[in-house]
Symmetry: D2
Subunit: 345 residues, 4 copies
């Protein structure tokens, strides 16, 4: 069976990734891509990897009826348009922050007033590793924030296996690529200013802390740095467990959570160039790499987690969740293995 | 029907690309990957994008019998091992320069003495756009040089449509990424020295001129620069036709050669960011982008051609040729569309 | 003796370089920097390398009287403001294209109507290697275009030594960094789109051809590519002399033109990593590197020329010319040797 | 007065920086540069920014008598050669780790057996911000580790002002460029593998912890990541003070320690692109940028510190210390302000 699909907001970066994934998806038929600024242009005009396609952007006013609608619009748009989206499609996957949090109180703490708080509880977070069961049959799905996704995937097994209780001190130092800023970046995103940086762009108070708190029940000390790559988010979690933990216990925890997960790769060290998780190794893919190291001298556990911010951190997660929601093979359309070598992907 | 396949020399960059392509190929079954230096290690140890695979490198001495053997060994190895390769497989695709040229004289002019000149005439060049018919059923196939491939694809229609005769002056200024140097690069390939360069690394006398001469019948003034990307080869051909040529004639020539080609995209200008061929747009794919601009003031035609040096310029071309040789769907295993945005891929 | 100096348009990239050079210049005293958009902010707010300075941008309306005024304003501004500039300063150095060409006819061919054609003949081109004598005592100086500067420096000795006559075919293939687009780049200059490119951004008809024609008397086939670096312009000139030329003759020509030049380094090949001119080697400096290679098979001479587009190609050239105009030591304020290693500078 | 100087181990990266600094230093006369592998070649053959120099590398066996000898040799060499170094020069500045620690016990804990433990106590650490008084007249000076230097400069004022006592939890997450690996990097340092990385290369147990412990009296949880730049080290210190601290107190502490320091710039936030310390802003210079942000929700203080690992983190620190030791103007030879814009420096 094939499902018809559309992308609202297809000219941006995550919109382009959705178009790519749907274009190559064996079970989805891409029916429509909307873009106000690029209406009537081919999708390949904006996304050169899709030059082979004849599809043209249409105006966001004229939504076609489809089985699944993916919304890749700026924060705040989906909550305004949600009725139209749900009229057009039985399954809506939203990539913005609008429906990630569960309560109006949480939302107001980190963002500005929500216009559809009634839907906050009803929506499902798109991360199958976290809530696969709830995604089955879901009709409103909220794809997670990329930095939150990397962090949650790094820490989740420690909570699932009760290595951590939520009272521990956790520092999360994230490094992200320039695509996180989206297609309309300003002066700070210009190549001369952004090239070669290590730039603290969210030293404190990053909104993705809210998602981490919601799902792991822990406050993390969160700092995000911009570094010189286009795709990728790498979260280094410095964790201070209360008591002693062994490498064996940790491997048990991580294997317990992830051994059947199709998109999580445990990276076990060993020799060679790629001994720990790295965004390069997953660029273009829906994979997350997760690994860790113990620092007994400081009673510290260091967890590394790497994703492609636009894939596992956004569009790939969204398609994965749609696959789960509709009962399609989970890996459908997400088989790309990634490249080696690859530069600043 | 499924064909068994092996990769000899699987730890290098093009070997890794072959492994990736065969791993995802619907008609090939990857049976063996050899590497002397990495024997017994998993292929994912060397190529982190293939960590999901259980396959381990075996010694190159123990070749298994397969339908197709891909050799990604340094220049000179295949001519020494060709009997063993052909004993092991009915179809051999060699990615080195050993069997690209047709005669011993040509070979001796550009390389050092050939030990199996008897096979030079018998082997087929792997570029289907150039000799698809000869590839059908071929048992010894030579994948082309990346810079030669980019150049040939840029200029071929001009010769096929008789816009050029071979007497014209042609300057080819190529820009290539660091993967062209292979996995064992020295000091000049180290990140501090190679990063951010525009470095004339083959100002004159590049061996790929031989392939261009062989297939187009023209001597080109050829210069190759290293620039800061990992994957990619971009050939800018400055051509001086004898008489006037029109844009319409040129489009006719290019469409005539390529409109049915699954892996050549004509880039027609227009607006937006990506108006001409660019390696970024084809990174990881088997596509070539080709486009041109007229410079009437200088009676010049400028042709742009962009490929991924490891794909259309090597491993992708090899798989494409094997598909043609065995009568498989040409695009099988080569469907990846590429990414947008993507950094220095 | 010390000269007072000001920079009009100090918030842009070349304006920032002027501020840096004047800040460290032993004979100039930086009195004023103007910027409409950044008025009242410190110059270090815009240019973090100048955070030690207390100087604040002032409005361009309030020009102080100084000995030398450097104008780093967009094309077209200086011709409108030239009376005010000359009222404020006895020596005006303009970094735009407004006063580079000698005649209104030339200007109209490449740009749009000039409002002060009376000053075209009177102004002096800022390249001392070309016209040091005319610069002495000049009161209106036009700093050259970066791509033109790289090209002229590469080819000049061939004309001075009569190796070329102006009838030869010359192809100039230029690679430039992202700073050439200036501080206000749009979507194509954003990091995700600009990173890792080989992008033909001026395939034909680049305006710098006019300067080359004016000074060398030859039409060149000129194509400019954007590559992944911030600073730098590298011109590869493919030259086809009428008769045979020897390496000795060429060295004679280049040494004859440049052996006493403080800012031109002849790069003679030899071994090591840096065998030809490279922009990396001159980043941040006022040096040009020039070298060549003969291609007897194609009767071709390949000349390589590399500069920092913002230094020798703009702000450094301007300060050098001001030094000459005022009779200061030519290298004053321009002593920085550059860095090794350095990335994409 | 002018001091004669030599560099032992001049072909490496930090050796090259020493040569650059001494070449441009008003009080030092560069007499000798040694290199075993490059003996008899000009220093410009290895370091293209120094092509103007006639100096040739000599064999390290033939040390000339000079006033100051800088040793840029691998760890372990200086302790073997120290008698020869001290015979040749009254002041020896060593850039390796050999003399950084005070006691044999410390050394043995982090490195392998020291052959000259008698000199550990006698040598002075090269960081003037830490021990300017002891450097005056010193005859054996040990330049600090780059990551340690960045960290110490970030945290020092907190200890000097008693904001911290040494019992607090401190996580230091460092990002460094590829030059840290030195000129002889292996496969992991090759451009294709190193480009675009966020790679945990020292997750735990980095030797620079020893220096931090020695000078600040605190154990830090230290993790170092390789990112895509050539020069630069950025230390993000996540600090958890016992009690409340105010922004005012913190500014007081930082100003108290650094307001008279010529090479420390406090970066106070504000608007614009460069709101926090960044390695780009100090590339090529001897400056450190230091700044911070409070995270009241997590009772956390985040301190950012950025240096050029080869300058303030090595060669620049060494020259600065030599200036102090000899009573020269501290900033002599270290005046370069850095560049804007600059890529991956």
């Amino acid at each position: 069976m094939t499902y018809s699909a559309s992308v609202v907001g297809g000219s941006g970066f995550t919109g382009g990734e959705l178009l790519r994934l749907l274009d190559g998806h064996p079970e989805f038929e891409l029916e429509q891509a909307t873009s106000r600024s690029k209406a009537n242009k081919t999708i390949g005009h904006q996304h050169p990897n899709l030059r082979h396609s004849d599809l043209r952007f249409s105006s966001p006013e004229d939504l076609e009826s489809v089985d699944v609608l993916f919304a890749a619009t700026p924060h705040g748009v989906s909550m305004e348009q949600i009725d139209a989206f749900q009229d057009a499609a039985g399954t809506v996957v939203d990539l913005s922050a609008d429906f990630r949090l569960n309560t109006e109180e949480q939302y107001d703490e980190w963002y500005d007033g929500h216009t559809r708080p009634d839907l906050l509880e009803a929506s499902e977070y798109a991360l199958p590793e976290l809530n696969r069961d709830d995604l089955a049959g879901a009709d409103l799905i909220a794809s997670g924030g990329c930095n939150a996704t990397a962090t949650i995937l790094g820490l989740l097994p420690l909570f699932e296996a009760d290595v951590l209780t939520g009272d521990e001190r956790i520092v999360v130092d994230v490094k992200v690529g320039s695509s996180e800023g989206g297609a309309g970046g300003g002066e700070a995103s210009s190549h001369p200013e952004r090239s070669g940086v290590v730039r603290p762009y969210a030293p404190t108070g990053h909104r993705h802390e809210a998602e981490i708190q919601q799902f792991l029940g822990v406050d993390v000390s969160f700092t995000v740095h911009a570094v010189d790559m286009v795709r990728g988010a790498s979260a280094t979690c410095h964790v201070f467990p209360d008591g002693p933990v062994s490498k064996g216990d940790l491997w048990g925890a991580y294997r317990g959570s992830y051994e059947d997960e199709p998109f999580v790769e445990l990276v076990a060290g060993g020799g060679g160039v790629y001994r720990y998780p790295e965004p390069k190794a997953v660029a273009g893919t829906n994979r997350a790499e997760v690994g860790f190291e113990l620092d007994p001298a400081n009673k510290r556990l260091v967890v590394f987690s790497a994703i492609d911010n636009m894939m596992k951190g956004s569009a790939g997660q969204a398609v994965h969740a749609a696959n789960v929601a509709l009962g399609i093979e989970e890996t459908a359309g997400l088989e790309f293995q990634g490249l080696h070598p690859v530069g600043a992907p």
